[in-house]
Subunit: 273 residues, 2 copies
Amino acid sequence: VLYFQNQKFMISKLLVIKIGGNVLDNPEACQRFLKTLGQLPQQKILIHGGGKIATQVAQKLGIATQMIDGRRITDQPMLDVVTMVYGGLVNKNLVGSLQLLGHNAIGLTGADAAIIKAHKRPLKNGIDYGYVGDIDQVDGLKLNNFLAQNLLPVIAPLSFDTASGGLLNTNADTMASAVAVAMAAYYDVNLIYCFEKKGVLSNPNDDDAVIAELSPSNYATYKEDGTINKGMIPKLDNAFDALQKGVTQVTICHADQLQEAVSGSNAGTKIRL
Amino acid sequence: VLYFQNQKFMISKLLVIKIGGNVLDNPEACQRFLKTLGQLPQQKILIHGGGKIATQVAQKLGIATQMIDGRRITDQPMLDVVTMVYGGLVNKNLVGSLQLLGHNAIGLTGADAAIIKAHKRPLKNGIDYGYVGDIDQVDGLKLNNFLAQNLLPVIAPLSFDTASGGLLNTNADTMASAVAVAMAAYYDVNLIYCFEKKGVLSNPNDDDAVIAELSPSNYATYKEDGTINKGMIPKLDNAFDALQKGVTQVTICHADQLQEAVSGSNAGTKIRL
């Protein structure tokens, strides 16, 4: 990206990468993903999920998991579980693995250095989601400070409740989008959602039926005819939102396709305005 | 502290404060402690325990806790528990509470920014402690960088296993001592162990029988006659070790005595060489 006269004329590239819970749950797939990520020369921020592991730990603790439209209802015992699993178990093991690979990772929740401030979601259509956060502000300057120290931020899907001082369970896709938007003030940001599928599928029973490109118009059609539904809708809404707010590129792809997605080849589903 | 000619002539004060698990387990006592800590004008680093909460969570998960000489035997399931509890639940709630009080806390384990490197403890007297870490190196320069950014490091008792990339359960007293020693290269360090007693007691049944001062000679006597025993011995060994390695002052006191301990009044037990 080039600008001229009184404006920035060179902007560094930054990768904001989200890794989903189903990949984290598979140690070999996760290690492959981290190796590829570590080999990318660009600066990067990693945001992770962990819902599947949280559900397993909750079950062992005798705490039932209740989901509405793919979102976890988070009462106090469940908040403790996600704080332990996202902020502790998953985050710290990712940080350790990246350190072993030679990358100076630092694990963060929204409360750490107050990087992601939020408020508790009010009742929505009569549903009380509990300790779930809607993001108010991402401190891009502080994240930029960490990047300038050659640190690789690894962010857990927990935001900081500025009203109570507590943590709030926050959708990792939404968090990745919000972080990407905040960093777009400083960088040419490439947002990549990595998960266990090769992209957005036009046929849920055919893992190779990847939609190469989604624009607002074919997205509307796919939603209308039910091809795209359920949990994929908020993920894609986040993707379009990021593009509208200054993120350069958004890709949804398999964790094994990270390298191709970054190099710009035809991997995954590209989101376009 | 004043030096002259070719040497540092002014050294800032730094408080390295350790807070024990029994205080963390009591929300009101913990809030009182954090408020006092927040009102201290000096720069500070907080190191926390959390063993009592880890034991409770382990029990709920059906994992038995095995202790030898006050040290937790840490197999893989127990490592997961302490990673969740120390690195997630306890650390992030402390960070959030400090943020609410207006202090820019950042939660760290030894893996984050690789601040505390360690190795897995070898068999000791035939005992396999499991995933327990013996500290090799504390990165004081990096901690100093965080302090220079007005961040308040909150450190969980987990060190980074440079061989495996995993975390290692590490005694929080030892960690506090190691951090204090590393920071003594940059600061006039005051190390304060806060717990649920008013200091080291000469009579375990009298909470007011505080030993005002411990030197190597009366420490030896108290150990010999059994007045000082069990878990207090490694705590005090850490305290003397810190003094020998350049820490200016070490105090063991009640969490409610933090203010007095810092101001230099007669609170708790002072350790002297």
